[in-house]
Amino acid sequence: MASFTPYTYFQCPCTDTLIASLPFGAEAPPPESENDEDERTFDPRAPRANYSLYPLEHLLYCEDCHQIRCPRCVLDEIVTWYCPNCLFEVPSSTVKSEGNRCTRSCFQCPICISPLSVSSVEAPPEGLGAEYTSQSGPYVLNCSFCNWSSKEIGIVLEKPNSVFQQLSKIRNKGQPAANAKEARKDSVARTLDISTQVIMEEGGDEDAEEVVLNPETQFANLKSFYLTQLAETSPTGALGFTGDYGYGSPGALSRIMGLYTGVSFSDKKSKSKTGTMREACDALEGFQASRPSSEKAISRLRKEGWHSTASAEQMAEQTHDAQFVSELWPVANMLRMKRSKRCKTCRHILSKPESKISTTKFRIRLVALNYIPSISIKPLQPPSSSNPAGLLTPLNPTQFVLTFKNPLFDGVKVSIATPASTPGRFSSRVTVLCPQFEVGANTDVWDEALREEGGRGGDREKRRTKAEASEGQHQAEAGKVWERGRNWVSVVVEVVPTSLRIEGPAFLRSEAQQKDDGPLREDEDVLEIPVFVRVEWETVAQDESAGLAAKEKEVKEKRELAYWCVLGIGRIAQT
């Protein structure tokens, strides 16, 4: 069995309370039957607990709500988009119009997804002064990992930069890539053309069938077609709302108002009047009859073999359909974004990265690690050689040292509470030998050292020396702190692991076991202890409303934070 690393997970309170997603201005609902809440023991094995337990490093802390915030109770906001390859920032307007791909020269290999580099097909110049001449001639995209080259699919570039434009040009067979707006204009113009033609000729539909659209134009045509359909069928009624997404119209304004107020401004009558929409029926409207080319594909498959077909992963990367390896195109790099996080309840920013792409610093980062004491676990007795995996022997009392480290600049009072026996089918007995203690402030390391110059070894510092430990003073006393340091305290917790056996007489079984006597489930042998931690400390009031007077007096404010944790102590040996 793999060795077990003890862990500590913290529970975010957002699952218990309903205030997580309150709309603006709403009053907080009265806490429902507080006693009930207090008496209930947190069960780390409950299915819901999965979604509220996080390692301390994943949690944020809201300074205004004085509460832990987990990834579920924060709001994400996009700060910038950028390409991870060239580290260029992409404005949001470009992201909207061009999609979330890099539009410069960053491509990944269609075969193996490693980044492609541009290189010249020509041999590098040789001879005198060769270093000073620049490389010229046609360029290709090269993969240094799998040796794929864009030459294989017949793509040769004229210049080494702005590869995206060049590729889309090649794709559209010489025409510059039309962005959506131009394409729409184009298609509208062409529709007019065609319609006049049709009127004149009465049935010139042979050449229309010939039209083969490339995917971009087809998409643009379809989009414009459906937009016009929307505009035609939706009522241009009293509000003048045409279905177009023009925000200038009063109809759109009322719609936006409706979004916020939740009241529908549009009357029901006009809705019933909506006409029927038709589907696209020719190429100009984006209609493309599927041409089953299976015959061609099969003959090609026969000729070139299985290796010429693209794998499912390769096809998934592509933006367009591709059946064969030769149809795979270089894929433009996906953009990434930097996000800031806000508290859902008070909307204060909890984390905000520097908007500059090349820096990884944060402007604001309120991580829980800086606010609540961390807990680390280690066994009091080192694991013996006979039991290297550190399995817990059933019914054998084992002691663990919990070390609380205080990140705050004020001393804190910590009280911890555990249920006498762990929840679940196999409940072990747990005793915290010292449930209440004080942890020193996280002051400068040198403060302590300088202060202790005179009276060496003050009563606060009580570190066990190696000699003392080896003398067999492994006996932890109830009500006393095991070890104490500058900003940390360790206490001893004693567990009596239960036996994992279900057989045996019924009167020996617990109630839960009598109900469910199935075989041992996955990770049911892990001993997890729910711990309720309550931290109290006094700090200088930061309330800005108190004004200058308060600042002068340095009003001390009492703070309190309470939360559930889960300590994963170890696996119980199965006998």
Binding site: I111, C112, V121, A123, V140, N142, F145, C146, N147, W148, S149, K151, E152, H307, V325
Partner: protein, 188 residues
């Protein structure tokens, strides 16, 4: 090279018979061992701490090859009947750091990348590339232009730039000639 290490009291192993080209670049602490003939062609570069072992079968390396550090060339165990010819490299073969090559034949311009393993009796075609950490099983025959990459995926390279690549190998040899001090006399 003054080293603080204690010298071995064992007598130095006998040198293997060699046939070395005069334009060969071979570093002082390359290790040529074994009893069979080791042939190294012209303009070939042997990095320091390369292990060429002809203990079981001869090694024949063509011209303009680059054999990198800590790579092991030559059979590591007794050969089968059809592997008696030993290891043969054609011209322009690059073996990168830590690769283990026991192949029967490696074609022109092929590249064996970092820590790749080529089994016994393997025949690798021309202009192949065996990616880093990839392994080729004993007795396999790899056709020309094959690229083995990732966790053993294979494809045929059709980019058609092999002449360019051979040219680049030549240039690389020129650079290495300046960087690696050669000590041909030690191995002759």
């Amino acid at each position: 090279m003054s080293s603080s290490k204690r010298a071995s009291t064992m007598p130095a192993a006998p040198k293997p018979p060699t046939s070395l080209s005069s334009t060969l670049v071979i570093a002082d602490n390359a290790a040529l061992t074994g009893t069979h003939l080791i042939t190294l062609g012209s303009n070939t570069v042997v990095h320091p701490r390369t292990k060429l072992s002809s203990a079981f079968a001869p090694i024949k390396i063509g011209s303009s090859c680059i054999i990198s550090e800590r790579s092991a060339i030559g059979l590591q165990s007794a050969p089968a009947e059809d592997e008696k010819d030993g290891v043969v490299f054609e011209n322009g073969v690059i073996v990168e750091v830590g690769a283990v090559v026991e192949a029967k034949r490696i074609g022109e311009g092929s590249v064996i990348e970092v820590n790749a393993k080529i089994g016994k009796g393997v025949v690798i075609g021309k202009h192949c590339k065996i990616g880093s950490m990839c392994e080729v099983a004993d007795g396999e025959v790899i056709p020309d232009f094959t690229v083995i990459y990732s966790n053993g995926l294979r494809r045929i390279d059709a980019s058609g730039i092999e002449n360019l690549k051979l040219k680049m190998v030549g240039r690389q040899v020129d650079v290495l000639r300046k960087l690696i001090p050669t000590n041909l006399a030690k191995f002759q």
